[in-house]
């Protein structure tokens, strides 16, 4: 599977997650977000950027509670909640935000 964007073909898995992490850039992220029905705002980017930073270090998306806690630390208590994240990413931060951030979907007993 995959998608075409700006004349380039991007390979994805069956659920639309980028296969090659290097393919990612902000434009691609915007494109994926659009398909998900999300208009990327500053708040959205905060999450995506955190995810990418975390991934760079740990090779996996963070646990949701780490995400929440870190968001709280970095951007204030009003942003450190599950509700806030769901407001940004209605299909769930783990699924939707990771997809936009170009990370692979965590697979397993989670």
């Amino acid at each position: 599977m995959g998608f075409e964007f700006n004349g380039k073909t991007y390979e994805t898995d069956d659920d639309g997650y980028l296969i090659n992490l290097d393919d990612w850039n902000q434009d691609v992220a915007n494109f994926i977000a659009q398909n998900e029905g999300i208009e990327m705002t500053e708040a959205h980017w905060e999450v995506v950027n955190f995810l990418r930073d975390y991934y760079a270090e740990y090779k996996i998306a963070p646990m949701i509670k780490i995400l929440i806690k870190e968001m709280k630390k970095m951007f204030g208590p009003e942003k450190g909640s599950n509700a806030y994240l769901y407001q940004l990413y209605p299909a769930g931060p783990a699924l939707q935000a990771c997809k936009i951030a170009g990370l692979p979907k965590p697979t397993g007993c989670v």
Binding site: K59, K65, C109
Partner: protein, 539 residues
Amino acid sequence: MAKTPKPEELSKIDYKLPEKGWMDTPVEFKEGMYCHGARPQYLETVDFPNPRQWSSKKDEDWKLPENWKEIVLNGMKERLEKYRSFRLFMDICVRCGACADKCQFFLGTGDPKNMPVLRAELIRSVYKRYFTASGKMLGKLAGGRELTLDVLKEWWYYFYQCSECRRCSVFCPYGIDQAEITMIGREILNLLGLNTDWIAGPVANSYMRGNHLGLEPHTIKSNFDFMAEDIEEVTGIKVEPTFNRKGAEILFVAPSGDFFGDPGTYTCMGYLMLFHELGLDYTWSTYASEGGNFGSFTSMEMGKRLNYKIYAEAKRLGVKWILGGECGHMWRVVNQYMDTWNGPADFLEVPVSPITGTRFENAKSTKMVHIAEFTADLIKHGKLKLDPSRNDHLKVTFHDSCNTARGMGILDEPRYILKNVLNHFYEMPEETIREKTFCCGSGSGLNAAENMELRLRGGFPRANAVKYVHQKYGVNMLTNICAIDRAALPTLMNYWVPGVDVAGVHELVANALVMKGEKERTQDLRLEPLPEKVGAENV
């Protein structure tokens, strides 16, 4: 991803059978009922055959090798010679039908090929045709059929709609175990690279990184640090788990899902708090950081390759014995395969609880103790100070995981623990618990997202029983001793029985555990206020 119908629609299950016979009814791949095909890199990682980019949709080219039929038949032949179970189960089924409505996937889908007898017949028909005199001569009359691509795809579709839960086996007069047939069926499919992505990924992760989520050592450490912070917030006590520590008395192995996903992390916090309170000389391992054995969803050989790490690590670290966490298939593997595969573990000692002195005779060969046995023993000897009222806001029921129930028989230990750590315990109807328990619907590698409808349907009988106690007694917490349960049941509950949460047994143990030097608790492990404290504030 397929849209999942509403519960009201999904629960209208049509058990009407097709007019035509099952051999004449070709398999139909329904969206939401099957998983993606395995990605090539996962197969490559473990040197599995036929790695390629492919789609598991029925109509697409599955990119099989030219001689796929020969591979399948040879694979069958080899396994007929290696497993008495396989040959016997192929031979002696009388099709009495007792197993038919025992399978949660049949009950939830109404698809006749999910009746265990018919699921077995999918491969038995090929066995008859190619391996028995009657089938070779009489063909369909003797129940035989040609192995075609359609048949192969049917295998793939249905062998990945079976959670290997063994419920059918309990009711079968000859003990025919569909799980065994499914496992061998999957082995054969794997000879052609026909795995699911959800299984192949965790297998590759487990192989390379020691756990199925692919958590690297520092990630594990970081997650634990994070959990330790939460524990400190709740109790004021700092737990200090060690990793890969040589010379520890005990190696603790838990399902890695507990290091990562809620509500498993609360269970993991439970372990940490319990061990800290006991002052247990134990260590975690980042190398053997997975209890669950995703290889066993693939092939016996892969199971063995992954399982290897536990004993190897125990030996390397020089521990005396191994303690295992709350996990389902991990324990089926420990109970039925580990010693045979990778034993004898003569470098370990027969497990003795350092706290109570109890010698775990039942684990004297594997040297591996289930944490429910361990904790039940502690409670029995009065070694834990428990305040069950801290769980008073919970009305709890217990879900026996298929693996621990029917592949081991650990039934009363968790119940004994629960009885001691909480005040409101309610059993689900007896046809749905203990050895007759229903699977969560997502076991044996079915816990993916793309097959959500299958999982919800397969989980329907379990959810139904939960709903019964939920409505009757107000049950709001479904406990279990399995990481797949903790991953799968929240989804299932949200869908079928909103208002019921999911927890591992040791989360509730830790909630009730009165620790030395702890501060007055106002929160449970989920950082939610304890009920009586709220009440006290209101007064």
